[in-house]
Amino acid sequence: MIRFEQVGKRYPNGREAIAGVSFDVRAGEMVFLTGRSGAGKSTILRLIALLERPTRGQVTVNGKDTAKLPARQVPAFRRQLGMVFQDHMLLPERSVYDNVALPLVVAHVPMRDIDKRVRAALDQVGLLDRIAALPPELSVGEQQRVGIARAIIARPPLLIADEPTGNLDPQLSRDVMQLFRRFSEAGVAVVVATHDQRLVEESGLREIHIASGRIA
């Protein structure tokens, strides 16, 4: 699903965020990327989502070498990938429904299918009753779950999450992890970047630890 081979990323300002990073994530597997702030976790996720391209080595995602993917194929590539962020990245002026539907709308899914699938996705994260609400009317935990519903609605084979529990209390964090585990059990590869070591230990799942841009 994901393969990093001796990957390095040097930002245009000369800052080398990661170097010599190699790992694999298989379908249906859930792994944690851990490490202190500034270790390079977000950089690795950005390389997976093609928000950045590697400056060394090879990143293969869903069978595609990201360094060689032409720009015009990037949108279709991103539709095969769900993304969850710490500050949820929801559109504040659009309803929960519109926010969750967006990945299907950009993929030109027919309207009636969108309706069904938005409801199903919101049901999965337990927010069906807030379908008409605007994001600012929701609690932080609810906003994060809307973000998750949006990330999974297009049924991507791959889900990446950057500090998804950063703003959540321990109970909400465990709920979110529970959701992710359900997706991975359904066959989705899940990569979660977090600096919350307790969460990782509780889960007993595989951990890729990054320190100063290298796998430790």
């Binding site: 977000s42 950005r46 989502a49 928000l51 015009r72 949108p75 279709a76 590539f77 991103r78 539709r79 990938l81 993304m83 962020f85 990245m89 929801l90 559109l91 967006l102 990945p103 950009v106 993929a107 030109h108 027919p110 309207m111 949006r150 297009a154 950057d162």
Partner: protein
């Protein structure tokens, strides 16, 4: 197909919604566009009005042959028949001396006095009308030379000067019109391009998120293109209204003035087709303006997370 239509309809409705949300700003932009479109539209009506008033040039470039007195009617008829078969000749009309006198008598009011003349002083006349493709200055000169070769022709008269002058004037007017249209069209493109640019920058977050979840450039661009087209179309609609009101207000006074100079000039009211063309031009310029803006600004907005 219906999905495609739905997609575009959605983008159009979305664009309309954005415009409706800021009615004051929209109205101002539309007014600026309308003013820029009204000027060339009005000019083009003026030019087509002058062209209509100056009549059908087919009859205007007639060449008239006055025969020597004493030329027999048979000889003139013979010339007419020969001429009709030649290339470049559309029509040959014979006005006999008698017919000429009769016309003059009726038209001039000298009927009584003419009756007193011992015999008809008027010659036989042939009015020769070239075909439309043989009406250039050179063609006319050549025709005139051929007709002068007839021994019994007395005067060959071609009254082309005023036509040439009018044509030159119309040509000038058309060039001014084209120049104005290009300049003001570019102005419309610039205004809409700038308006759309501001809209793109305002909605940066939305564009980033849309791209993040896999929205293509085309998808992100579509509502902005519709927005530009909508601005242009609304501007053109207002321009049409201004032109129609202008026609209505000026038609009476102008035709009174023209009549006092013996001219048939009238302000031409724009046809439905012309109004449609203006609307299409407005929408097209708006689309172009939005496209320019989108090409410059949209591709640069990439998700930052």
């Amino acid at each position: 197909m219906s999905a495609w239509l739905g997609r575009h309809l959605q983008a159009l409705l979305f664009a309309a919604g954005r415009l409706a949300r800021a009615p004051f700003g929209t109205a101002f932009t539309v007014l600026v566009i309308a003013i820029a479109l009204t000027l060339p539209a009005a000019l083009s009506l003026l030019v087509s009005g002058v062209r209509a008033a100056s009549g059908n040039f087919a009859s205007a470039v007639d060449v008239t042959v006055y025969f020597k007195r004493g030329t027999t009617l048979d000889a003139v008829k013979q010339h007419a028949t020969e001429l009709k078969d030649q290339v470049g000749i559309a029509q040959v009309k014979l006005i006999t001396a008698d017919e000429g006198l009769e016309q003059f008598r009726q038209g001039s009011g000298f009927g009584e006095a003419l009756g007193a003349l011992p015999d008809n002083p008027l010659p036989h006349v042939l009015v020769v009308q070239p075909t439309p493709d043989s009406r250039s200055a050179d063609d006319i000169t050549a025709l005139k030379a051929r007709l002068s070769d007839w021994p019994d022709a007395e005067i060959i008269q071609v009254d082309t000067d005023w036509i040439q002058r009018l044509n030159a004037l119309l040509d000038l007017a058309r060039r001014i019109l084209a120049g104005t249209a290009v300049l003001l069209g570019a102005g419309v493109v610039a205004v809409i391009s700038n308006t759309v640019r501001l809209e793109i920058l305002n909605r940066r977050a939305e564009i980033e998120i849309t791209k993040l979840v896999g929205g293509s450039n085309a998808f992100v661009r579509r509502p902005f293109l519709y927005m530009g087209a909508l601005y242009g179309a609304l501007g053109a609609a207002l321009a049409s209204l201004l032109v129609l009101v202008g026609c209505f207000l000026l038609a009476g006074p102008v035709s009174t003035l023209a009549q006092s100079y013996g001219s048939e000039f009238r302000i031409a009211t724009p046809s439905l087709g012309q109004l449609g063309l203006l609307l299409a031009a407005g929408a097209g310029l708006g689309w172009l303006g939005a496209f320019v803006s989108a090409a410059r600004h949209l591709a640069r907005i990439e998700p930052r997370v």
